[in-house]
């Protein structure tokens, strides 16, 4: 049988076509990300990296809720009314090492630190006149110090104070993680080493490189680090570390420094943003929102009713204290977070009210002779809260009253104030059958992944 392949030419045509129309399908590049080398090249990229570091603090696993709310639950300022078993462990003061909130907080804080480390490492190499290197590095150090302070007070420290340098610390990483090799686990540094790193980051050079806050509510760079914010953060740190002379001096310099005094009506701090009193507020808006009010609000009002202010018996206030209406003991919500959706409440991180109480305490701890001065500062805050002046000649009674006022004044703000107060005054250990539980467990994941290079905290 003869076969005629008259279509041979077609096949040749297709063949030739297919070899010449070669398709380059292998070279593809991502569309929503950049190579690291494209970031720290000019002011735009480097500034975006700083914004990225602030953004990290906003995480719901960090100041966006958990880094203070869970500790308010632990300290008793909050009660658990929701469904998350991981939250219940805080309320029950029985936290397991695999608690997912603990792990997420840890990871979130260290992710922020790594962002700051990138800025500190690479900013010097950015050749762009429009880029303020010194300010960039200072902002990054401010963020890093704040983050290490948060981590250190939760996972480190002595059972009864934060003043023992040899006490338990946390891993201290001051260089960015750029390759998988850089990510090798670093063992815990001592408490003192981390403390010194925090104070070094808040050095005078850092303070000097930051812009002044400005007066009144005309805040320079709302939501970002300022001179005053850095000094206030350092004052807070020094009070925690027991360096009372420094704490008193720093806090007083903020009080007497530029900017106006305490906001006359305390609730204005929360119903409007960036009041004159506030030194650093973490900014939230409709497109960059938080879920804090959502976690408080009852379901019928669109929340998830996960936490509520503790019952009045567990969260006592003096009669006529204006802060009752703000904190809402026994209610399901607090005035400090009011907008369920779209979650635009700012979180107040540092404010002058805190500095008054910090200065008051640090002065009297320095010397009982400073009691009158301390009372004056304390009573400024009490007066604003609609309370009568507190009068005593006994330093011990002063500290009791001051602790009470600190609790009522600073509850639910962006730092675990009451929990840290309980710990630094040695009252936390008594809440547990095992005093080691004052420190959170190192996340089980961290211990396992590091193959015990990062050791578990005692008791877990």
């Amino acid at each position: 049988m003869e076969m005629r392949y008259s279509n041979f030419k077609y096949s040749i045509f297709v063949l030739v076509l297919s070899f010449f129309v070669s398709c380059d399908v292998l070279d593809q590049a991502p569309e929503a990300s950049l190579a690291p080398s494209q970031v720290f090249t000019d002011a735009t990229g480097a500034n975006a990296a700083i914004i990225g570091a602030y953004s990290s603090i906003q995480s719901g696993n960090y100041v966006g809720l958990r880094s203070w709310a869970l500790l308010d639950l632990y300290s008793g300022n909050l009660r658990h009314t929701g469904t998350f078993p991981s939250f219940a462990q805080f309320q029950n003061r029985n936290i397991l090492a695999d608690n997912v909130e603990v792990s997420n907080m840890w990871n979130s804080i260290y992710s922020t630190i790594n962002r700051a480390n990138n800025i500190i490492e690479f900013s010097p190499g950015v050749n762009d006149a429009a880029f303020n290197k010194d300010r960039a590095i200072a902002e990054a150090k401010f963020i890093r110090a704040f983050s290490y302070l948060n981590a250190l007070v939760l996972w480190g420290g002595d059972n009864n104070s934060y003043t023992v340098d040899g006490a338990v610390g946390i891993p201290l990483r001051l260089k960015p993680t750029l390759t998988p090799a850089d990510a090798a686990p670093a063992p815990k540094a001592t408490f003192g080493e981390v403390k010194n790193a925090i104070l070094a980051d808040l050095s005078q050079a850092t303070i000097d490189a930051l812009p002044a806050r400005g007066t009144g509510s005309a805040i320079a760079a709302a939501g970002r680090a300022t001179k005053e914010a850095a000094i206030a953060l350092k004052a807070k740190a020094q009070l925690i570390f027991g360096n009372n002379a420094d704490a008193a001096a720093l806090a007083q310099s903020v009080i007497t420094g530029t900017g106006s005094d305490l906001t006359a009506t305390m609730s204005n701090l929360y119903t409007s943003k960036n009041n004159a009193e506030s030194l650093w507020e973490l900014q939230f808006d409709a497109v960059n929102s938080n879920a804090i009010a959502f976690f408080f609000y009852p379901t019928a009002q669109g929340g998830r009713n996960e936490v509520s202010p503790a019952a009045p018996a567990n969260f006592p206030h003096e009669a006529n204290d204006a802060r009752i209406a703000i904190n809402g003991p026994g209610l399901s919500i607090t005035v400090k977070y009011r907008v369920v959706s779209p979650g635009t409440d700012n979180v107040i991180m540092l404010r002058k009210g805190d500095m008054y109480l910090t200065a008051a305490e640090a002065l009297v701890r320095q010397s009982a002779a400073n009691l009158p001065q301390g009372l004056t500062l304390l009573n400024r805050v009490r007066t604003r809260a609609g309370l009568p002046n507190f009068v005593t000649e006994d330093a011990a009674a002063f500290f009791v009253q001051l602790a009470q006022d600190r609790r009522n004044e600073l509850a639910f703000e962006g730092f675990p104030n009451h929990w840290v107060d309980l710990r630094r005054t040695g009252q936390a250990a008594g809440l547990f059958t095992n005093p080691n539980f004052v420190r959170l467990p190192i996340p089980q994941r961290e211990v396992l992944t590091s193959e015990n290079v990062i050791t578990q905290n005692a008791g877990y």
């Binding site: 950049l34 990296a49 914004i51 018996a313």
Partner: protein, 1050 residues
């Protein structure tokens, strides 16, 4: 059988068009013994010669024969017949289907092969096995049909994903789902939804119409699948759609309609009265009367305190008897109710959310053609209401398949399908706004509505009202899809063909969700709307040469060489808005606050070269080798091309002379194969170090480190060793296929966990290894074969052992209780072990001594497994595994005169389920709705040894991950029971309209036998997961369905 294949083969063999001078002419007609229809293209050959012809469109033939000639009528898939012509001038023949496996032609990757010569492990599933079952997805059709293929329908959620694992799960962090190829086009699979529901995702395979499918071929070993190279490590499923057949145009209309209901399941909730008693008891066991008051004040009784805690009471007032909660007097959770629980209201939420749903399908197909061209057009509409409020699925699809022989040596064809499917999706699983999740976890003492007609929202809980969860949100996912290919094929020389084919799969997926102010989510935001659109265009251009030649009578060679390009382009858009002017306008344009808007895109490409040679010596020694080289854009420049070779041998022992005396053995073939395949499903840019966008603050755009790079990143690899035997006994009345395999998945892309203190949680690396090894058994028997009665069975069994052989770093947790550890199977569960319920002070002291400081009588004493006297997180161990010991299917087909029946069972045995639903519904720690297991709770009067006491907040953490929630997941399910009656052709044809008619009743999941206490033992809250299978958490269960249908031929 495979009409397409027949036609192709016929088309190849047809050029027998010469005329021969003979003594006389015989004519006749060849028809199908099955339905009497004419058979075109049947070869009619004079025995002992090469002289022959083929039947025309009406099945007629004409051939010149000499005296005493014997004619051989043959057609692939039908039993050949020999007929002595004798003196007749006309010989009519009817050909019956060939039930033996050997004559089958199997679709292989890039070709066809006679079953007798196949040396790889391939299972074929023809449409007859699943037709007329009410199938939602094509992957459902494969469930239980093939040894070695574990298909888990993770939920009954309409349109949701199904997990398909061929020879076990072989990946950790990448996809472990097989490659699906439809008519030569590798298609997009998986989920395209951008809006989470809590667990179940969507399934791109739901876009395909099961009725269009002629057959599935499952390529299981490397010999079969390695031709697909870097995408074959999880096996390949080849789908061939139905083609037209030369002959009179046929019209087929199929219709069924039926109902679906929830299966008889054991989940029963306690009623409102029991819930009220329980709440009071929880509070009493936790709080003294002085709780929350301070200063020595007391509550009047625990009923007041319970009301204060759970009724959203505005406060408490002091009375002479003590504090009383300020009640809202709405008849719910009043202190008076706690004092007399019999007065509590009661709602059976499960009864309220489940319903009887309708399911129906209309299917119309036209098919036919001439010798030169054939066609098949089909349209199908499928509708399923869903057995739960707020769920449903519908699909409209149409398909055109055309093939045309332009000249003797040039053919082209096209296959195109379009579809649109709409899923009405409920939220569920790990979601406090889900329908089933709230149906279970909403307390029974809450009424559906308040007196004013609004939903009654539980004041003490954050869970949504189940009816509001089901009826109020609008949530629809619409998938529009075009899958098609066009090919041209030319004969270049004898036996040598060139084929070029352009295929594409275009998918447009759109999600829209609106949560009105009547829902908790929408209440806070004054209406919350989300909208997402995703498109994926995937094209492939394939060019192949094939060469088939016989050298003498002993040697036969078939070879394939080809190259191809493939590219997939993905685009996405997402937007979210809140603060709507009312609940009527659901489009985002109405929302005052545009909270989110983002777009994304990504591309990957493949460049491939492939080749294969099959060699047969004397028809009994079989040898095959293939290789594919894939370049992928997903891997670093240095490591861009991978080589995937495979080889196999076969020996048809039964064709050896020395076996001729062994009469009971009708067929025996031994096979062995080895090869390497790859898995490139790892994300498009996993190898690059990246800074990510989106880290914004104070209205400025931010950048942040996103991932650490790994330039040496490469594909995952699977080496598969396979031994197989095909054994036919008693003239193939019994046909047995046995496979033994060892599949080693290596270089598994794993997120090497990094310490969180580094700022990263992991980096993708090629580290892990998993071994799956096992035995597959498939037995097909013809139990009875009589003139009027025929009964055939197929049973398939799979014994697979899965083991993680290497991991990056330490073992890690996954899901709720799953644990990945070297030496353990994927799906292992880890947790604490219950020792006993604390019944006395000695037990209690033992508990306190080991750190359970809150323990009281009735709490659980957990085992201190490491014996160090302290109960810590280290006191957890492997409790069991979600991997079955054996699974399979058992199908029976019976035919008696016009009646037919199908009885199909599926079974899974030896697996465990972590019932996380019970960890909540028997937790007795808060206001969650509880199931009847809590009725056996420990009390001083009922010292239960299995269920602990009720205590608010669960201070002893009795609910922790432990063997308490682990259950046997084995089940036997009557998957399909179908009885049909075919009206005799003699009656049907009298109507002058109908060609054939059949009516039937079909059922799905009519019975399930299991010890599992949840809704459905076939469950996975994580949908398609490698590391956390077999976990149940408030997952939409599968339905049972009964339908009636007709098949009409015109």
């Amino acid at each position: 059988m495979k009409r397409l294949l027949r036609l192709l083969v016929v088309a190849l063999l047809l050029p027998l068009s010469a005329a021969w001078a003979q003594e006389r002419t015989v004519t006749g007609r060849v028809t199908s013994a099955e339905d009497g229809s004419p058979l075109p293209g049947v070869n009619v050959v004079i025995k002992g010669t090469t002289v022959g012809t083929a039947t025309d469109l009406d099945g007629r033939y004409s051939i010149s024969v000499s005296q005493g000639a014997v004619l051989v009528y043959s057609f692939i898939g039908l039993k050949s017949q020999e007929v002595a012509v004798g003196e007749r001038a006309s010989v009519d023949v009817s050909l019956a289907l060939d039930a033996t496996q050997l004559s089958e032609v199997v679709v292989t990757g890039y070709g066809l092969q006679s079953r007798a010569e196949v040396t790889g492990a391939i299972t074929s599933v023809g449409y007859k096995e699943f037709q007329d079952m009410p199938l939602r997805n094509i992957d459902q059709a494969l469930q239980g049909r093939s040894a070695g293929v574990n298909i888990v329908q993770s939920s009954g959620t309409p349109g949701s994903g199904i997990s398909v694992n061929i020879r076990g799960t072989g990946s950790l962090g990448s996809s472990s789902q097989p490659l699906f190829v439809i008519d030569g086009v590798p298609i997009n699979t998986g989920s395209y939804t951008a809006i989470g529901t809590g667990g179940q995702l969507t399934n791109a395979l739901s876009d395909l119409n099961p009725n269009d499918i002629e057959s599935f071929e499952i390529l299981k070993d490397a010999a079969a699948s390695a031709i697909y190279g870097s995408r074959a490590a999880n096996g390949v499923v080849i789908i061939t759609t139905k083609q037209g057949r030369a002959g009179r145009t046929k019209v087929d209309f199929n219709f069924y309609t039926g109902i679906e209901q929830r299966q008889n399941d054991p989940v029963k909730k306690i009623n409102g009265q029991q819930a009220s008693e329980l709440m009071l008891e929880m509070v009493r066991n936790r709080y003294p009367l002085t709780a929350f008051l301070g200063g020595g004040a007391q509550w009047a009784d625990h009923a007041e305190l319970t009301t204060w805690l759970f009724d959203g009471a505005a406060g408490a007032t002091n009375t002479p008897d003590g504090f009383r909660a300020v009640t809202n007097n709405d008849g719910v959770r009043e202190a008076s109710i706690y004092r007399d629980p019999s007065t509590a209201p009661s709602t059976d939420w499960l009864d309220e959310i489940f319903r009887t749903g309708k399911i129906s399908q209309y299917d119309l197909a036209f098919s036919g053609g001439t010798e030169k061209s054939t066609f098949r057009f089909s349209t199908t509409y499928f509708n399923q209401e869903g057995i739960m409020i707020g769920s449903g699925f519908e699909r409209f699809s149409a398909r055109i398949n055309l093939a045309n022989q332009v000249t003797d040596h040039f053919r082209f064809g096209t296959n195109v399908a379009v579809s649109r499917s709409v899923a009405v999706r409920p939220q569920n699983d790990n979601n406090i706004n889900g329908v089933l999740s709230t149906g279970v976890l909403y307390s029974s003492d809450i009424p559906i509505f308040r007196a004013n007609g609004t939903y009654y929202k539980d004041p003490g809980s954050s869970t949504e009202n189940p009816i509001a969860a089901g009826l109020e949100p609008f949530f629809e996912s619409v998938s529009s899809r075009v899958i098609g290919s066009t090919y041209g094929e030319v004969d270049i020389a004898k036996g040598l063909k060139f084929r070029t084919e352009l295929g594409l799969d275009f998918l447009l997926f759109k999600d829209d969700r609106f949560q009105p102010t009547t829902t908790n989510t929408g209440a806070g935001s004054n209406g919350l709307g989300q909208s997402s659109s995703r498109t994926d265009l995937n094209w492939v251009w394939k060019n192949n040469f094939t060469y088939n030649k016989d050298f003498g009578s002993d040697h036969r060679i078939s070879a394939l060489v080809g190259f191809e390009y493939q590219q997939s382009t993905f685009e996405s858009l997402f937007a979210q808005a809140s603060v709507f002017p009312g609940n009527t306008i659901r489009r985002l344009s109405a929302g005052a606050v545009k909270a989110d808007a983002s777009s994304g895109g990504s591309v990957w490409g493949l460049e491939s070269y492939l080749g294969r040679v099959n060699y047969t010596f004397k028809g009994k020694y079989l040898l095959s080798g293939s290789v594919r080289v894939d370049g992928s854009s997903r891997f670093g420049e240095d490591n861009r091309y991978g080589v995937f070779p495979a080889g196999s041998i076969g020996w048809r022992l039964s064709d050896e002379g020395f076996m001729s005396g062994v009469n009971f053995l009708s067929d025996l073939k031994l096979r062995a194969s080895y090869g390497i395949t790859g898995n490139q499903e790892i994300g498009n840019f996993a190898s690059l170090p990246l800074f990510s966008s989106g880290a914004n603050y104070i209205g400025l755009g931010g950048l942040a480190p996103g991932q650490l790079g790994n330039p040496s990143l490469t594909w995952e690899e699977a080496s598969i060793l396979n031994f197989g035997a095909d054994i036919g006994l008693l003239k193939d009345r019994i046909f047995l296929a046995v496979e033994y395999y060892i599949k080693d998945n290596r270089e598994l892309l794993q997120n090497l966990p990094l310490v969180g203190s580094s700022g990263f949680l992991g980096v993708t690396q090629n580290i892990g290894s998993i071994r799956n090894s096992g035995v597959e058994l498939s037995i097909t028997t013809v139990n009875v074969s009589k003139a009027n009665f025929r009964w055939t069975s197929n049973i398939n069994l799979t014994f697979n052992k899965n083991e993680v052989t290497k991991l990056a770093g330490a073992p890690f947790a996954s899901g709720f209780a799953s644990w990945v550890e070297e030496g353990q199977p994927l799906g292992a569960f880890r947790g604490f072990r219950v020792d006993r319920i604390i019944q006395n002070e000695t037990d209690r002291q033992a508990a306190i001594a080991q750190g359970q400081t809150a323990a009281q009588l009735g709490d659980i004493l957990f085992k201190d497994l490491d014996g160090n006297g302290s109960l810590t997180s280290a006191d957890q161990e492997i409790l069991g595994s979600a991997q079955p010991v054996v699974f399979g299917g058992f199908n029976n087909t019976l035919k008696y005169k016009g009646f037919d029946a199908t009885i199909f069972f599926r079974f899974v045995s030896g697996n465990k389920i972590y019932n996380n639903t019970r960890a909540f519904s028997e937790g007795m720690n808060g206001v969650f709705g509880q199931t009847d297991g809590v009725l056996n709770r420990w009390t001083p009067d009922n010292p239960s040894t299995t269920t602990p006491r009720a205590v608010f907040g669960d201070p002893n953490n009795n609910r922790r991950t432990s063997d308490r929630w682990l259950e046997d997941g084995s089940f036997l399910r009557l998957n399909n029971l179908q009885v049909g009656y075919t009206i005799p052709p003699s009656v049907v044809t009298r109507s002058k309209v109908l060609r054939s008619a059949r009516i039937y009743v079909s059922s799905q999941n009519l019975f399930t036998w299991t010890k599992y206490s949840g809704f459905d033992p076939e469950v996975s809250t994580f949908n398609i997961t490698n590391t956390a299978p077999g976990t149940d958490f408030l997952t939409y269960p599968q339905a049972k369905a009964v339908s009636v249908g007709v098949n009409l031929g015109l």
